[in-house]
Symmetry: C2
Subunit: 189 residues, 2 copies
């Protein structure tokens, strides 16, 4: 049996890394560097995607005016303060047109799953490099999507999934223990 | 500035851990132990969720007969062979009923995002402990959902998102480099 895992950390490290991530909602004034932004987006793009379509786009918001606009139009974007940046994760639904014509069913909604996996990678990558992040919802709420579409000049085939706020954590946040054995079923529900 | 990240591994380790995960589609005969299954599900349940509703359920499929049924009804489940197990990640849409009554918009589809983040954590946890995994799609394809509903006795408020096949990798798989700077935009699309 061959293990494909990196040897630079132990199994326990990998698991505790995942378990120790938590949402961070308050940030220092320190800005997020461009190299760090690239690391976050590289990790996001390493997510799997249906038919390997990689439907994601990432809009990085660093300008103060635009951050203020986002705080105004999204109820949970108040934490986009200080040195934090916003990353709006979007999906390109035009990629599914050809497949849907060939197929008998509508595959378009796979964009939500793929962009969500990319978002989780982005949150974990922030945690890895000592940043903090929080995922705030946009899709499927039409009112929020419409405002983001206007604000970020999104064409009609680019749908905004969420706004991830990333910055340097103001304080240490402890992860919640969400383990619940009642959510585990064997062989059938 | 305080870093909330574990000190047991370096930043580079955390990023390379995420970047080195890849889909594994061929497995040895070695079975996946119960302790490992619990680690995978603990990691999955550490994902963030909208309104902290944690809408996920996990159906672990180990029995040969049921694995064969899954291989028969899902076109991409052929890799559920040898010692590998299946984890069907499901979402409970009944959790949104009260919120949707209070709210003016339909929040139900948040289950897809939350269960996708949990799925990505599960894939990464498998990678951390030397297992391999692959995410195979069920939702939003009605035909696949109907078959899973029957096979796993799912009540109508429990929707199947995907089947994740997990096992001991037959060989080392190299991750694809999916970095694409054209997917990155600053301030607007």
């Amino acid at each position: 049996m061959i293990h494909s895992v990196d040897t630079s950390f132990t199994s326990a490290d990998g698991i505790s890394f995942i378990l120790s991530r938590t949402s961070v909602r308050r940030f220092t004034e320190e800005t997020v560097g461009n190299d760090d932004i690239e690391l976050l987006l590289r990790a996001a793009m390493a997510a799997p995607s249906s038919m390997n379509l990689q439907p994601w786009h990432f809009i990085v918001v660093r300008e103060e005016d635009l951050k203020e606009e986002l705080r105004r139009c999204l109820p949970y974007a108040k934490m986009l303060q200080g040195g934090s940046i916003g990353v709006v994760v979007c999906g390109d639904i035009a990629l599914y047109e050809r497949i849907n014509r060939l197929d008998k069913e509508d595959n378009t909604l796979y964009w939500v799953q793929d962009c969500s996996a990319a978002s989780e990678n982005l949150l974990l990558a922030a945690h890895a490099i000592g940043l903090g992040a929080v995922w705030t919802g946009i899709y499927p709420l039409e009112s929020r999507m419409a405002q983001l579409r206007r604000l970020l000049h999104l064409p009609s085939h680019i749908l905004p999934l969420n706004l991830i706020v990333v910055g340097h954590p103001f304080h240490v946040s402890s992860p919640k223990d969400k383990w619940d054995p009642r959510k585990v079923h064997y062989e059938c529900f």
